[in-house]
């Protein structure tokens, strides 16, 4: 149990072991640990980013959906408006057309009435001539009394 050269041997052995440990044990294992730590951190960051992306995408999808709904509502409203416009226009057209037809018919009627009156007038003068000749018992010269007759016809 006395101190001897073992002391030196142990110190040298100690130094060698520390050197070996530093060079061939500590450095590679620590490097592997650091690498793994980095990989895990990267993985977690990726997951976080993916989560964030997902949130953004969901928000964006909701926005697009909302926009689409708005647009469709707009389109629907436009369509309804257009339909009512068309109906209004059709109604207007129908009304003017009706009016036009009615006016045409009225004009025709007037014409018919006028024509009938003319006819009646000529027939009345003929009847009057015939009546008068009968009353007088002789033939009346139509030519001689034409101006009289015309005056009569105008009075009717």
């Amino acid at each position: 149990m006395n101190i001897n050269a073992t002391l030196l041997a142990q110190t040298i052995m100690f130094a060698l072991f520390v050197w070996f440990c530093m060079k061939f044990v500590w450095t590679p294992i620590i490097a592997a640990l650091e690498e793994r730590k980095k990989q895990i951190a990267d993985g977690l960051a990726d997951a976080e980013r993916a989560k964030h992306d997902l949130e953004l995408a969901a928000k964006r999808a909701a926005e697009i959906l909302r926009e689409a709904k708005e647009k469709s509502a707009d389109i629907l409203a436009g369509g309804e408006k257009r339909a009512s416009e068309i109906i209004e226009a059709a109604k207007d057209q129908a009304r003017t057309e009706g009016d036009r037809i009615i006016t045409g018919a009225k004009a025709e009627i007037d014409q018919e009435v006028f024509r009938a009156k003319e006819q009646l007038r000529t027939q009345v003068s003929a009847i009057a001539l015939a009546g008068a000749s009968k009353i007088l018992g002789r033939e009346i010269d139509a030519k001689a009394h034409n101006d009289l007759l015309d005056k009569l016809v105008a009075e009717i």
């Binding site: 149990m1 006395n2 001897n4 110190t11 070996f20 440990c21 530093m22 044990v25 500590w26």
Partner: protein, 303 residues
Amino acid sequence: MSSEALTSAEYIKHHLQNLTYGQLPAGYERHDASGNVEALQQATWTIAHGAEEAKAMGFWALNLDTFIMSLLLGAVFMFMFHRVAKAASTGVPTGLQNFCEWALEFVDNSVRGSFSGKNNMVGPLALTVFFWIFSMNLMDLLPIDYVPLVMQALGVPYFKVVPSTDPNATFGMAIGVFLLVLYYSIKVKGLAGFAGELTLQPFGKWGMPVNLLLEGVNLIAKPISLALRLFGNMYAGEMIFILIALMGGSYLGLSAASATLFGSQILLSLGWAIFHILIITLQAFIFMTLTVVYLDMAHQEHH
């Protein structure tokens, strides 16, 4: 007890004797087992038989058992870690790699906890210190008679299987740590800074001799306390194992007394061994932590 012929004192002495290889001076009188005295004609390289011969060999002798065991244990531990380090991958660790990574992170965390400077050597140093000392201490849990008995059968007279019960091993490491402390003190603070730290405080420059005395003692106490703490604990533990082993050794035939002794040896050595698991781990941890703390102090400009 290894042999009926031994007395308790001889048994203890035998267990505390290292396998020392050294040179006996010319004219040294060797006493062999049968009591014959033989004076050596010339200086002889040989293995010491007993403490006196080991003492006569002087400084230039080697404790083969301490040397071989610590080399073996250190090599086993380094081999194990190196195998893991070679195959170290970033994938899911399994088995041995898991253990080694856990151990490394444990050491790394304690280093980070108490070492504030930046030095790539402190981590590996702490790892080596912890596992080398732990494995050397672990040999204490081997039944104390087995290895010496096997060695004796192989013709080796002495074999102390626990290197950390040899002050050479503990002082060897402590001196290694001390040299590092000196080296980094001078490297970080400069020679003048380090000298100033030793002489200019706590009493200012007029109290220089007192300062030097105080700080010098403070400095020298570091390696000595490191070495003696480990050595003392392991030596005392070993001693108690030997004393417990002696109880069963005093078996004197079938009687209530010797049966009690025999039974209590089993119980006591079991209890002490279980308690010792704590001590060996704790001592390795303390040595490591103090090493790191001393190096941290060496790296700090002010303290």
